[in-house]
Every structure is written in C-alpha cells, then in structure tokens.
Symmetry: D2
Subunit: 393 residues, 4 copies
Amino acid sequence: MGDGILAGNSRVGLWLIGARGSVAATVVAGAAAIRAGMMPATGCVSELPDFRDTGLPNFNDLVFGGHDIVTVPLPKRVEQLAQDGVIPATLLGPIDGALVAAETEIRPGIGALPVGQTLSEAVAPIVADLVSFRRRHRLARVVVVNVASTERPSQISAAHDSLAGLEEAMSDTCPAIPTSSLYAYAAFRAGCSYVDFTPSAGARLPALDEFARVQGLPYAGSDGKTGETLVKSALAPMFAHRALRVRSWTGVNLLGGGDGATLAEPAAAQSKTMSKGRALEAVLGTAVEGAVHIDYVPELGEWKTAWDHISFEGFFGVRMTIQFTWQGCDSALAAPLVLDLARLMARAHETGRVGPQGQLAFFFKDPVGTDEHRLVMQYEALRQWAMLLRSQR
Amino acid sequence: MGDGILAGNSRVGLWLIGARGSVAATVVAGAAAIRAGMMPATGCVSELPDFRDTGLPNFNDLVFGGHDIVTVPLPKRVEQLAQDGVIPATLLGPIDGALVAAETEIRPGIGALPVGQTLSEAVAPIVADLVSFRRRHRLARVVVVNVASTERPSQISAAHDSLAGLEEAMSDTCPAIPTSSLYAYAAFRAGCSYVDFTPSAGARLPALDEFARVQGLPYAGSDGKTGETLVKSALAPMFAHRALRVRSWTGVNLLGGGDGATLAEPAAAQSKTMSKGRALEAVLGTAVEGAVHIDYVPELGEWKTAWDHISFEGFFGVRMTIQFTWQGCDSALAAPLVLDLARLMARAHETGRVGPQGQLAFFFKDPVGTDEHRLVMQYEALRQWAMLLRSQR
Amino acid sequence: MGDGILAGNSRVGLWLIGARGSVAATVVAGAAAIRAGMMPATGCVSELPDFRDTGLPNFNDLVFGGHDIVTVPLPKRVEQLAQDGVIPATLLGPIDGALVAAETEIRPGIGALPVGQTLSEAVAPIVADLVSFRRRHRLARVVVVNVASTERPSQISAAHDSLAGLEEAMSDTCPAIPTSSLYAYAAFRAGCSYVDFTPSAGARLPALDEFARVQGLPYAGSDGKTGETLVKSALAPMFAHRALRVRSWTGVNLLGGGDGATLAEPAAAQSKTMSKGRALEAVLGTAVEGAVHIDYVPELGEWKTAWDHISFEGFFGVRMTIQFTWQGCDSALAAPLVLDLARLMARAHETGRVGPQGQLAFFFKDPVGTDEHRLVMQYEALRQWAMLLRSQR
Amino acid sequence: MGDGILAGNSRVGLWLIGARGSVAATVVAGAAAIRAGMMPATGCVSELPDFRDTGLPNFNDLVFGGHDIVTVPLPKRVEQLAQDGVIPATLLGPIDGALVAAETEIRPGIGALPVGQTLSEAVAPIVADLVSFRRRHRLARVVVVNVASTERPSQISAAHDSLAGLEEAMSDTCPAIPTSSLYAYAAFRAGCSYVDFTPSAGARLPALDEFARVQGLPYAGSDGKTGETLVKSALAPMFAHRALRVRSWTGVNLLGGGDGATLAEPAAAQSKTMSKGRALEAVLGTAVEGAVHIDYVPELGEWKTAWDHISFEGFFGVRMTIQFTWQGCDSALAAPLVLDLARLMARAHETGRVGPQGQLAFFFKDPVGTDEHRLVMQYEALRQWAMLLRSQR
C-alpha cells in the first residue's frame, strides 16, 4: 500500500446538516483557526489530557462538507458572526481559504417535497452526496452531524417502528418521516455514522436504530447540552444526593439568533422543552413543579441568557432557594462539542461500535443508550471509554 | 448474651463539641422530631435508599451529650431557633423531653487555661466525661463531632508533628495545641471516633493522625459543606470537564447568627476562606482570580446568602458568565449531615476502619483522606462503601 | 352637637370586595395588630412624616366589612396566613376579636347571575349592604376597595360608554358589565368612593366615570403596585433620564397562592400583563422587546419571586445588562397600601374631590387620572397633595 | 466684531486631568465619532429633548486637551479600548485625526514634587497650560474635568479651611494639599470652571469654594455616578417612600482595568466606598447594616459587575429581599457624562453661575450644593434649570 492510501485512511469527513448555520460556521471557522495555530482549543473536550493517545483523528485530518437549504454562503455567515462578537475579526483573513473550501462542499438539502416525488427519490441525492464526498476526498469514514433547526415533535407512525415499515414508506410521496430522520437514513445508507445535535427525531426512530445495527454503524444524540441543561445536569444531583427535596424548578431561556427564531414557534419549542425537561426528572427521580420558558429576544443575537429558580426543602421543612443566571454564546458553546463528537464518533466507528453510543451522553440533553443524566458520571463513562481506547492501541 | 447487652451494643452516643450552639440544638431537636414521627428526615443522606440495610444505627439508637463553654440551656436555644423560623413552634412541646435529656448530658468545655494548669489536666475531665457517658448509657461506641465556633489558623509547632511531641507538650502549661485538637486528643484517648465539622485543626495534626492509628480509631473532616462550597463542588467540574477556562470566580457570603459573628473576626474567617478555596483549585487544577468574602450581617439571623460570579472563556476566547445566589438556613443544612456522620462514623468504627475516612469526603469542604472534590464522585465513593457494608452483613 | 355624633363623624368604613381573600385578611389582621400596639405600621405610606396632620382617619377609626362569594371565614383565612409565615402565630389570640367582628360584616357577593335576574336586581342587595353598613356603624363615609380575583379583559360594549347606556343595560339579564364594574356602580349608587386594587375594569368604564362625577364621588386605581412593577417604576426612569437605550426587558413572575391560581388562567393573566406593561412604555417612551411571564407555582404559597432581565445600550453601542430578583410576600406588600388607600380616599371624599384621583398614582400599576409612571414623581405628587391637605386644616 | 471672533466665542475647551486614561480616551473618541456622524449620542443626557434650545455648546464646538503623568499616547489607549470591545474597531480610522489633535494638547501633569519646589511653583505651569490652551484656540471658556485616578482620603489641614490659609501653604514645599485640589486651584486661578468626576478632594475644600466665589466661577462634583450607585439612587427611594424598612444593604463591585487596580489599594477604595455610601444614608434617613466591597478582578478589563443584596421588612415584620446584578462598561458609562458636564458647565459659567452647582447632582455619587440623592428628583432639578436656560435665551 502506498503512503497516499495510508494518509487517506486517517482522514475523516465531518458532514453538517445545516452547514450554513451559526453552529456549522463556527465549527468550520474554529477548526481552521486551531489548525492555523491561531487559537487554543478551549471548549474541546477531546483535547483534555484524558483523551490523549486514544487514536482520535487530528483537527488536521478533518474535511468539512454538508447540506443546507439556506443559500447564504458560509464565509458570509462567518462575517456576521464576527460582527456579533463571536469570532475575532482579525481571524477572518487567515481562515478564509478553509471557509471557501468547505463552502464548495455544501450541497442542497432536503426542502419541501415536490409533488409526486417519493421519499426514496428525495433521499437518493443525499446518499450520493455523502458517497461522493467520501470518495473524492479518500476519507476513511464520514460522520454526519445534524445542526439544522429544531423540528416540531413528529407524529407517531407505523413507518417509524421497523425497518421494513420504513422502507415501505420510502416509496410513498407522503412525508410521514421527519426530515432529520431522512438524513439519518441517508447517512446509514451511505455507511456513515450519525449524530443528532438537535432534539429532532433523527436516528431515534426504532426503524433507524434497526437500520444502524443492520449496517453496523454507531449513532449518538440528542440535543447538544450547551447551557441551562448543562448546568442542570451538574446541579440537580446535588439535591438528589443530599436528600434535599426540590419543590419547584423554573427556567427561563432568552435566545436571539436563528435558534431563538425557530424556537419562537411553539411546536418547535415543545421539542426543546421536552428535551430539556428529561435530565431533571431522571436525576431527581420525580417530576417537580415549574415551567421551562423559551423566549425569542432578537436583539440578543448569538447570545443567550438563562435564569433558573429552584426552591427546595431541607430539615424541619425549611424552604431554601438557589438561582442561577447563565450568559453564554450559543454557537461558541456548541461548536467545539460538534468537533469533539466528530472525532469521537469516527473512532467509535473505526473500533466497530454499533447502535446508540451511551458513552457520549455527556454531550446531550436527552442521551440515547443510557439513563445516566448526571454530568460528572457521564464524563466518567466517557473517560472510561477513552481508557479502553488507549489500552487497545 | 442477654437482651440488655444486645440492646446496649446497638446504641451509639453522639457527643457534640459546642453542644449548645445552633447546629447542635438543631441536631438534637431534629432527631427527636424524626423519632416522634413528626417530620421526615429530609436532608439526611443516610436515609436515602442507597444506605438501606447497611447496618447504620437507627435514630432511636442515638444518645446525645456534649461539651460547651456557653451556659444558655439547649431548650432555650431551640426556642430561639423556633423564633427565627428554623424549627416549627408546634414541635416545641413534643420534643421538650428529648431536649431536657440532652441538656443534662452537657458538661463544661475547655475554656481559657487557668494559670499553672497543664494541657493534660485540662483534657483529663473531658476524657472522663466521654467515658462516663459511654458507661452510664451502655453505649457500643461514641462519635465526637466538633460543631463549635471556628478557630483561627493555628501556629505550626513541633508538638503537632508526632505523637511523642504531642504527649510531651501535654505536660506544658502553654497552649501550643488548638482547643479543637485537645478535644480530638481526648476523644481518641477515650476510644471515640472524631469528626471535624468546622475548619479548625481538630484531628488533622500529624500527631493526632498517629494517635488515631495507635488507638485503632477512625476520624473524618473537615468543615461541613453546606452552602456555597457545596454548590461549587457540584458546579466546578462542569468547567473542568467541558474544557472551559475559568477566568475568575468571586464569592460573597452574607452570614448572620453565631457563625457570622465568629467569622467577622478576620483570623477565623481566614480558616474558613482557606477551607472554602481548596475544592475549587483541586477541581480546576489551577488557581483562579477572584476573592471569597465572608460578611457578618447580623439581621440575617440563621440565614445565609451567597452570591458567586464566575467568568469563563470558551471557543474563540468568547467570554461568558454564570452567577448563582444561594439562600439557605445554616443550621437546617448542617444538622442532618451531623446525624449522617454520627451514624456512618459509628459504623466505620464498628467495622474496624482506622485513620482518615476519605469515603466521607462528600460531607466536607476540605476532606481528609482523598483528593476528590467533585461532589458526585464523592457521593459515588460513599455509595460504593455503602454497598460494601451491605455485602458484609 | 354631642360627642357621639362627633365620634361617629370621624369613623370610616373600609368595605372590601373579596373580603375573605389573603389581602383582605391581612388588611383586617394588620389594622387590629397596629391598633393593639403589637406591631409597627411598617409598609404604611400614610404613616410617614409627610402625612402627619393631614386629617387622615386613624387606624382606630376604621370599621371593616365586605362582600365575598367564598365562604371560608376570615379567622380561618388568617390562621392559614399564620401557617404560611405571613402573620406571626403569637398575634392570633390578641386580634381574634377584631377578626370575628369583621367576619360578621361580610355579606354574599355577586356570583353567577340566576336565570332571569337583571343586573339591577343583582346590584340592589349590594347597595343595600353598603348603606346598612354605614348607618349601623354611624360612619362618616365608606371606601369600597376591590381586592377580589383578577377578571379577564372585558369585551367592549356600548353599555360601557355612557351612564345612560349603562343604566339601560342594568335592566338586562345579560352580563355585558364586568362584575367589578357592578361593584363600582353599587358603590357610587350608595354614595361610596371606590378603589380598584386589581386590573379588573371596575370604575374605569366611561359610564362609571360619568356616574362618579354625577354623584360627586372620587375613585382611584388600578392594580396595586406591589412587586415587579413597583421596581420597574423606580428603575425605568434611570434609563430614560440617562439616555441609555433599553434593547429588551423581560420579566418572569412566579406566584403561588390564590393570585397565582387565578393568573394561571391565560385570559386573567392577560389583564395583568397588560397592566404591568404600561408603566414601562410610558416611562421609556417606546415599546421594547421582551415578554412578561406570570407562572403559577403553587408551592410558593403567599410568596412571589420576580426576575427581570434588562439589556441596554450605551455610548459606542456597548451592550450592558441589569437583572434583578424580587422575593416578596404578596399579601404583606398589598395590605398596608389598602389601608393607606382607605385613609387617603376617605380624606379625598371628605375634602370634596371628584372623579379619578391622579395624586394616588403612586399606589398603582396603571393609574387613572395621570400619565406619570415614575415612582418618585408619583410620590412627590402625593406629598404635594398632603401639603395641601395640611394647609387646609 | 468679525465673524471669526463670534465663532471663536462659542468654542469651549474640555480640559481633562488624566487625559490619557480610559475615560478621557473614550470621551475624545466618542465626541469625534458623534461629530463624524458615525454613532448616535446614546448615553448623553444633554442630547435629550429636555435640553434642546438651552444654548449648550455643540459637540462641534468642543476642543480637547489635558494633563497626565502617564505617557502612553491617546491613540494607543483608544486602540486598547477597541481590543477590549469598548470602541468598534471600524471607527479607529475615521477618528484618528481627532485623537492625534487631542494628543498634541496633552501636557505633563503634577507628579511627585521635586525637592525644594513649592506648591506655587508646581501649579504655575498648570495655570499657564490652561491659559495658553484657551488663547491659542480662541476659546470662550474652558471646563476642567478631573478623571484621574482616585486619591486616598486627605488629611485634614488648616490650609484647607480658608483661601488665606491655602495661599500661605502654596509657598510651602510640603504637599499638604491633595493633587486634585492643586488642579482645582490652578483651574480657578486660570478662570476655568472645574468638575470632579472622581471622589478625590478636588474643589471641595472650603478654601477652594472660597476661591471659586472670589473668581466668580462655578464648580461641580463629585464622583460620577455610573453603576451601582446610580442604581442605588434610583432604587433606594422606593423603600423610603413605601415605608419599607431596609434591614441590610450589601454591595460587591468587581472591577478590572485601571480603576480596579487603583481601588485595589485600600486607602483609595475607602474614598470610593465613602462616596458610594452617602446616597443610601441620605435617602433612607438612617445607616443600615451591610458593607460595600470593591474587588479588583483584572480579567474583567473595562467591564464591571456589581451585585447588591437588599434585605427589607414590611407589614407584620415579614422579611423580603431584592438583589440586582449590574454588568456595565465603565468608560462607556462615564464618557458621555463627561461630555454632558462640559457642555452644561460651560453654559453655567456663561450664564454667570458661581460656586457649587447643585443642579448637576444628577451626575454624581456625592453631589455638592444639594442634599437631594434621589435620581429622579435630581433629574427634575436639572430639567428645571434647563427650562430656565431656555427661557433666558
């Protein structure tokens, strides 16, 4: 075997659904800036000492592409992020080449189905795009990560329950399958692993779990944990382990930007608040009073603020409270995790793992493959796997 | 063996240094209310399902006594706590008998040394009190818990470094040994385990560690984790595990009550802020900018409020913040933990454990016997031990 | 003239619509405790030095009565408030007589209209109750204060626009007139002044304003300013006067208790959020982004917590924020203001003032008779009136 | 008279003590950006409609100069502010000319007195600088504004009490006079008005008040109200006017930048905390429990965060709290106020006002010439004066 092939084998594709959105733009820009030695990989979990010598692909080995239905080019999106204070303006020049390269690998995504088109016909070009991307760049494997806008909760359908039912529905012209799941289907069809960074259905349908196993592919998700829920999963165990009774937990999320606009739509917000609620109940072992609000406040731009108010009870029924306010930049919080997931998923795929990857629960609000919602225990599970990877090299 | 002996063997003494303070009063009142079935054991970790069938003494098996230099009787102190809203006034009648019983077991503590008295002479009656308490109540064992006011940081002295040096100093009239350590010495001399619920030196002197091992006794500490530091130990791992760089962490603690008054004294406050600071550095792996303030605000009474401001940095150097405000009742937070520690320590003693009990780190700001400061991992260590206890029965 | 008549002339009735609710119970209990010298009049604006010698009725001169459709007696309601920590349990004995006396003056309120009954027929007993109350107690005058649950926003109707139209509608059996406005009508019919402490329509219909003027009676409202909006009216002028541009203002109100339960109903909440929004726009001179939420969190009981997040812009477009968290006890905040309003309104009536009393805007979220929403300027207007009252004596 | 002289007469000098600091740099840069039409005058009170047609000098009529002992040139300082996110980088080019022009008018300030030099000798060049600045630019008048670092509280000295005593001390070589007061002396000597934007002594010595009156000059101060105290002066009247008893008020200020570094020095911090404390006591009418902390947190740069916790008591002694967190940019908050003060002071001088200018209290933590600390009443006083100015034109 020649060197070219060896080198090619170590290269990994990161294919982004929603490739021209804020998160994707920050992912591509950030990887370029890290590769150029112009910024540290702050926020990248996979760069912590615990993950050294675990065989993860390097930042240099990542190749970017993706689907989107939006047409504003990636470099333009990055410019806006610079204006919003997310990306330093001084970096725009040095990373421009990388942005243009990624932009040339962005293909039209699945939009509204034309009349008479079957789902199979809609999915076929998506599969072809993935296969072509892998071949042209001689990639060892491709990780597909969904960072598109949150979908509404999907209707239950027989087509979701088994691979056979799903394959049958693919000949239909009726869109009973959520778009995110069509992407997951295409990914598995093309031999790619799949990560849901949103609360959309994606690979979570039983039919797609079956398909992933048939294809021998791993998947992970869902809904990247980047703010309020991240803090919740750190804080909620404190009450459970200290035998303090949580009386109510109210959360308010003020979001600007694209995510805020999408979540201003009540149905989409429902997907998100359902996803956000799960960690709390799982950790506390019971439902508690209090709502989760998501407010769209356009002027906040890429920034988000969450306020949580927790009322709890201790000895002698004494009532106490804790409040926290989180002020973060959504895309800057999400992007390094997407890079982490691409690297970790590529390695999971390489080492032959199949189905839901519970050891990646650390990254998600509503993780597949595990019931563990405590942040530190999720990290420990990830670290254990890293130790296993290291020992296997 | 007769029933009396069996019954006697299962009874455990909880001897409180500072037995007439808020925390001690809440401990005795709370145990009485739980025994009377008048309140749930909210806040008692040892009552969680994870600790079932681990052979811990029941609340019914606890007998209370202690030392204090204050003379306001325990029932009077409990009355004040009722006025401050900590203990429901309706409970005062039903628990009065238990309070009076405990009050009759409170002995004069170590005050200022009379001229010419040696440390040995000061300690002798303390030892005698402990032995008499155990004999008269036919207790299987006694756990001594220090809930007295925080001492200033102690001067380093050769007498602290070895048991031989300590024994020599005991013949002196010069108080080179902190009072809390004299109590620990007395506890070990009397065959009792010892728990430091304050940041005072207590059993942490190398000489006393040596003494505990010689006597075959366990000890634990120090500084019960009941508020700001509890939250810190839940929250700080989030930054470390997510590779987010903490830029500064500032904390402000507003305290009323006796604890606040003590800590208004700068030297005592230093003991506390040193103790509070340790978890953060240990978890983050580095010192960070920012101070910890302790303010005495008398009007707050038994209540305390902490505000923490954390500034951190993520991808692209973006600056983000989280703030939290904790509003708690100090004695109500501390008291159930003291009961937990008495039960767990009695069992540690019973099962032959010796020296620092790292598996109890979960309860402390500055734990002995371990470097683990992450709250959830501390809980897991405790749970592992509980599983071991269960399997050994 | 005999002493009896003189004494009688100085006595004032405070007639509460919603007389068995939390606010009313706190009003009656508080006045009794103040009269008994058992608590200071903290929170009573009319007891500030600025209101000395202005001829207000004394607390001793107030006689209580009211309407309610709830049947739980007032002393029982006060007992619950004591359990919730609003009223000290030690006061229950001393004020019991006053509670029982007020309870005997509570009459059935206007419930659902029986089939075939006209509004006139529904209102007649209400008028009779007021007249009887005034006569039996030989009161100089009666102030009717609405502290009942918030109504939904009312439909616009021709009957609202003129007294003639209203009188015509009174012969109807169709309830086009909000219940709160029926009470206002009854008050004016009986020669009583009227205060709206809720956002309900009450006396705000043009027809009722006309009626008040015809009868020569003063009225005031609406919606007592006791928490978030109070703070807003103190804080918003800061931005306006400092030429800082408010970008968004988001508010979240967590309420337990009866008020929370009522406002959990979206239509009623709308009345409240409309009322809450007015001050902000009036002061800032423009609408701003951001929502106001009202959440019902039953476990909070009589307590309420509000969090407001304000994003604003300064020199060079720099973005800054202020957040505040308000934790208050609803009935304890409202009750002294109701006493203030009764005293001030009685004096307004006595001095011949007619129609909307703009000088009382200080007490209201959505004041009648003025456009001034800045808290301090509202206070100054009240103080000016107090100076006038003093000079007229 | 020719047009040139008329035009010259309307031009006003703004002479900054501390001319190369963050605030001064933001002042000069901001005025240039406003003049260039590149940013709105957000944060400039004097641009509100209430100040139209009051004869204030235009931004175009301001000429900048100043003293400093620092040598880093103004354009360099502005560059740093751009890096810190205060000034948009895109403005640097367009305003560069204005920065260079101001830099050429910065003269060496008063440093450590050389051995043997008298105060008169130290002050003489300062006076000469001011006179030369006015002549060369044909300015109608010059306003001197002190924005230098906060001094320690000064020792009381007989030289402070009368102009005669002060003049005598000027022949001494001993620095009994604070540097800020030497600048005020020089300003008055040169016929300039003087504004203290810091808590330093400046013109507040009785001797300097006397000098200002002798010279027929106005002065104002002290300590620009730009953050926590601004909010306090808006919020504290709420408690006073609502008869709510403030139990404690604790404030924590986290400051980066130069101001933070200066105030990390305890003596200087004392000047500031004394100045910050005055408004509260004045408004509440009584001292309250609670401290004010100033923490230097270098990483915050130009940003500051203040957290205030206020505990208060209402009806039935119920305890309630409000907390606020203010996150602002120090120089962006201060700079527009300095421009306002220059414009307003020039007009006060022009209209013949002499001595302390109480109508400018709105801008200051510790205002001269008035006891009014309520923000809105301070604004009303300013507005009244503006109305007077308008009527006099």
